[in-house]
């Protein structure tokens, strides 16, 4: 044991001496940590964040040391994990909504550490929030779904009834309806972000109810596998799930966090970091798409590509009036688009025409 220790100390000393002579930059590398809700192998939400971390690492190289921790439940344990990370890092990214209050609590105790919380709304001097306009992605896949469904039933596997998920359902439905007035959307709530078993059950249930196109707002590839087996269509979620549904996946919504992570960590390195509120979409490149499957008719593909181009140029908004709420009361007037707050960020209603009951 003591030999091992001695040799490692020796190695370290030599290494640090060499480093001290070779590098001109005196600054230490930025230590960045990421808290994940699922396993990096979910090929969905957490996988996409991890891809972003890899991208940032590649871009910043020796300027950054990354630490990641997976499967951190959204409960009081997360506060301990975040604290442990705050003790050793310069910036901590907490990548799920349920980490919001723990993040803010820890941030108050560690004012010199920067925090970045994904999909929340509580800003502090040392806490930024960031999220993506996933509903823009839903707009594109909604159009494809509306065209591709023959049964006119689109199945939607939803996680929790939070505004982000509701925005996705409404956006997908409005887009599908704009190309297919007869389309209906059926929603199954699984009350989990990552539960391959439940997600597969939900997919099977929706197919049994006549759905021939599936959408999901959960993190695993389970629904894609079920879609492939049953010969129905589906869309990748958060990352390209082509591997699990070579025929089923029409396209996928890809969350591209890499550039954002690289920017924010570089800002810490350069001493320019300040608290900010980011809500970026197709235009900023935070929401991207998997390649369109060749089994789609060219017109459908072109229509989807056009929607992506229009979104990236800011020419269209997935929520453009006139839109009524499910109960018939008016929401947006002709040509009107909603502000981020409160309409988008607190959305808790279905739009008119959705047949499912709002979960209460």
């Amino acid at each position: 044991m003591s030999k091992v220790r001695f040799s490692s100390i020796l190695k370290l000393t030599v290494l640090s001496t060499v480093l001290a002579f070779t590098s001109n930059v005196s600054a230490d590398p930025v230590k960045a940590a990421f808290v994940y809700i699922g396993p990096t192998g979910d090929h969905g939400w957490t996988y996409a964040h991890d891809e972003g971390v890899k991208y940032a690492k590649e871009k910043l190289g020796d300027d950054v040391i990354m630490t990641t921790i997976e499967n951190v439940a959204e409960n009081s344990d997360s506060e301990r994990v975040i604290t442990s990370l705050a003790r050793k890092n310069d910036i901590v990214f907490t990548t799920s909504f349920g980490y919001m209050n723990p993040t803010v609590k820890v941030a108050k105790r560690y004012p010199d550490v920067k925090f970045e919380h994904a999909t929340g709304y509580m800003l502090e001097d040392n806490v930024s929030v960031y999220s993506a306009r996933f509903y823009e992605g839903r707009h594109v896949i909604g159009k494809i779904a509306g065209r591709m469904t023959e049964s006119n039933v689109v199945g939607y596997i939803a996680s929790f009834p939070i505004p982000e998920v509701i925005r996705g359902i409404n956006s997908a439905f409005l887009a599908a309806k704009s190309v297919n007035p007869d389309v209906q959307i059926k929603v199954v709530w699984v009350y989990s972000w990552y539960d391959p078993g439940k997600e597969a059950d939900a997919a099977n249930a929706l197919i049994a109810q006549g759905a021939d196109v599936l959408m999901q707002h959960t993190d695993s590839t389970a629904a894609m596998t079920v879609a492939e087996e049953n010969g129905v269509y589906a869309f990748g979620q958060a990352s390209n799930m082509r591997e699990w549904g070579p025929n089923a996946q029409l396209t996928g919504i890809i969350n591209d966090w890499g550039p954002y992570y690289a920017d924010r960590i570089a800002a810490v390195r350069d001493g320019t970091w300040s608290s900010s509120d980011t809500f970026a979409g197709v235009q900023q490149g935070m929401v991207k798409f998997a390649p369109m499957n060749n089994n789609m008719p060219t017109e459908v593909k072109n229509e989807a590509m056009q929607a992506i181009i229009d979104l990236s140029m800011g020419k269209i908004h997935p929520f453009t009036g006139p839109i009524n709420k499910q109960d018939g009361s008016p929401w947006l007037a002709e040509g009107e688009t909603p502000p981020n707050f409160p309409d988008l960020l607190t959305m808790d209603f279905y739009v008119e025409g959705i047949d499912s009951q709002y979960p209460n």
Binding site: V4, T67, D77, R80, P161, M347
Partner: protein, 356 residues
């Protein structure tokens, strides 16, 4: 053929030593796994981070106690029923209902200051947990429905009920429609007993409760009753013990304590009600109870041991990027070795030459 033959006499020394033996075997297996998956320099430091650091680090040690407290309280309640052969597998559900009941009282009196609020929340949570467990007791006594199934199934119901409450009446009105309650105000938060940490009064309560349970089992008639009902049900009947009472009290006690633990979690480290309230304490406490051989004082130690595997497991994940399943692997190994030791204390292995 390998056969297990009951030993005439069980070694008293081994009964005392077997938990230590199980721990040693777990540690040795862990060491072997680490030697295979890590390079040499890391093995000792990973080992240290996993098993020693949580006991010595000034931040991690109180966190270890925070994590152990609910396991102690729920484990104690369960151990009483388990002694009598009443299998409450759904303490998780009673924990959730207790958390909701206690939390709802705190939220109802939002921003009302008063020393009476915490006791009121505690009583509500105990009653909530008792009520939830009493459903299983009623069905078992009245219709002979198996309490294992009822308590387990009701756990899922409780979790969905929590979701419904957080979508509806208990949702934070200023919370952007996310399913979370308000953050509790100061009067509804448990007093911290170690300044600068999250260690709350629930830990003291857990220790007091375990001594109360120890005394109760030793001295009180009910303790005797559950013991005999569990080990010799026929004898218990002859002694005139009421079977239904045993079922009812066992479930009420374990349900009430699980409910109390739910309130401690909500008003302690969580500080609000969120969908993250259920975190498998109710299930993990089953391991805790058995590792302690259902002994109330032993539960204090087994809860600390399981808590150590959580806290240490997180730290090695952070420091050495090991997968999160490491915690479950250790808990599984620990229980496996412990049960194996127990079998070998009670039985001896005989290689049987088959004659035919």
């Amino acid at each position: 053929m390998i056969k297990l033959i009951p030993r005439v006499e069980n070694s008293k020394v081994m009964i005392l030593l077997s938990p230590l033996l199980a721990m040693t075997l777990t540690a040795l297996t862990a060491l072997i796994i680490f030697i295979f998956i890590l390079d040499d320099i890391k093995v000792s430091s990973v080992f240290f981070t996993l098993f020693v650091l949580p006991l010595t680090d000034s931040y991690l040690f109180p966190e270890l106690l925070v994590k152990a407290a609910p396991l102690m309280i729920i484990g104690l309640g369960l151990s009483i029923g388990f002694r009598a052969g009443i299998w409450n597998i759904g303490a998780e559900g009673q924990y959730v209902i207790g958390g909701i009941a206690g939390g709802a009282v705190g939220l109802y009196f939002y921003n009302v200051e008063g020393f009476w609020l915490l006791p009121l929340m505690a009583i509500a949570s105990i009653l909530g947990g008792m009520f939830y467990a009493s459903i299983a007791a009623f069905l078992r006594i009245r219709y002979q429905v198996n309490e294992i199934l009822v308590t387990l199934m009701l756990t899922y119901v409780a979790v969905l009920f929590l979701s419904a409450m957080l979508q509806g009446p208990l949702r934070n009105p200023a919370g952007f429609n996310f399913p979370e309650s308000r953050i509790f105000h100061d009067s509804a938060m448990l007093p911290i007993i170690w300044e600068g940490t999250r260690l709350h009064i629930g830990f003291i309560v857990a220790i007091i409760l375990s001594f109360v349970a120890w005394f109760g089992i030793k001295k009180h008639m009910f303790g005797m009753q559950i013991k005999i009902t569990g080990s010799a049900p026929r004898a218990a009947k002859f002694a005139g013990f009421n079977d239904n009472k045993t079922v009812l009290y066992s479930l009420l006690i374990s349900g009430g304590l699980a409910g109390l633990a739910g309130f401690f979690e909500a008003s302690g480290p969580a500080g609000q009600l969120t969908p993250g309230l259920p975190q498998f304490y109710g299930f993990t406490a089953i391991i805790v109870a058995f590792l302690a051989r259902l002994h109330p004082i032993g539960i204090l130690f087994s809860a600390l041991l399981i808590a150590l595997s959580y806290v240490g497991g997180e730290e090695v994940q952070i420091e050495y990027n090991l997968p999160s399943s490491i915690t479950q692997i250790f808990q599984g190994m620990l229980l496996f070795y412990f049960l194996a030791c127990d079998i070998l204390i009670k039985y001896k292995v005989v290689l049987n030459k088959t004659k035919n």
